[in-house]
């Protein structure tokens, strides 16, 4: 399955990119995250939330969407 990943804020520095498309299968959001942590070891130094098709999800949730966003700590206002 094709997944479009977007990285926000300081996570663009940790991954060296703002977005990418990967073709892989993962059962859960957590499995995708394990893969990303291996691909980009610097992610380990960051806190972030993962959104799937514009909804922030927990790591146990199944991966069914094709748009994933990695969101660092929020600092609006």
């Amino acid at each position: 399955m094709e997944i479009k990943l977007r990285y926000y804020g300081q996570l663009q520095e940790a991954t060296g990119k703002s977005e990418e498309i990967i073709s892989k299968h993962f059962s859960t959001i957590g499995q995708l995250n394990d893969y990303l942590m291996k691909s980009y070891p610097k992610l380990e130094n960051h806190n972030y939330k993962i959104a799937q098709n514009n909804i922030i999800e927990s790591y146990n949730n199944p991966l069914i969407g094709n748009r994933i966003d990695l969101l660092p700590p929020f600092s609006g206002g």
Binding site: R6, G9, D69, L71, P73, F74, G76, G77
Partner: protein, 146 residues
């Protein structure tokens, strides 16, 4: 009550004239008896020997607008508000300029006093907006909300 999701984002600073215009627009709404306004302004913090000269905001726009819509609808259900306007900057805002504007109105003062702080705090806590603090020597750090 299935209202359209509004876009809260404004490119660059929120100008004092646009805020004045927003106040003026309410003069025809004669059932309103009380307004309350929050304005967030970029602060020129000094960290070590460096001074913050601007914040550059980015956001996951779709999620931010959706969550703001939920915050707005929940506030209308909970408080007796006539109207509510929420704007947040995207892109660069210099120190001293306005980056965040929340404007609530009601027939009486109590609902606007009670609701405004909660709405402002929820927006700061829940919306995926990211601030990059630019220093006067062109280095930067990522903003952290307390």
């Amino acid at each position: 009550m299935n209202k359209k999701i509004k876009n809260i984002f404004v490119e660059g600073p929120i100008t004092p004239s646009s805020i004045a215009k927003s106040i003026e627009n309410h003069q025809t709404k004669s059932m309103i008896g009380a307004h309350n306004i929050f304005l967030g302004q970029v602060r020129a913090d000094i960290i070590g020997k460096k001074k913050i000269i601007a914040i550059e905001y980015s956001a996951q726009i779709e999620i931010s607008n959706q969550l703001c819509h939920e915050i707005r609808e929940a506030a209308f259900l909970k408080y007796d508000l006539t109207c509510m306007h929420i704007y947040h900057s995207i892109g660069k805002v210099k120190a001293g300029e306005i980056c965040f504007f929340v404007f609530v109105s009601s027939s009486h003062r109590s609902p606007v006093f009670q609701s405004l702080e909660k709405i402002v705090n929820e927006i700061k806590d829940r919306l995926p907006i990211f601030g990059k603090e630019i220093f006067d020597d062109k280095t930067y750090q990522w903003k952290v909300n307390n």
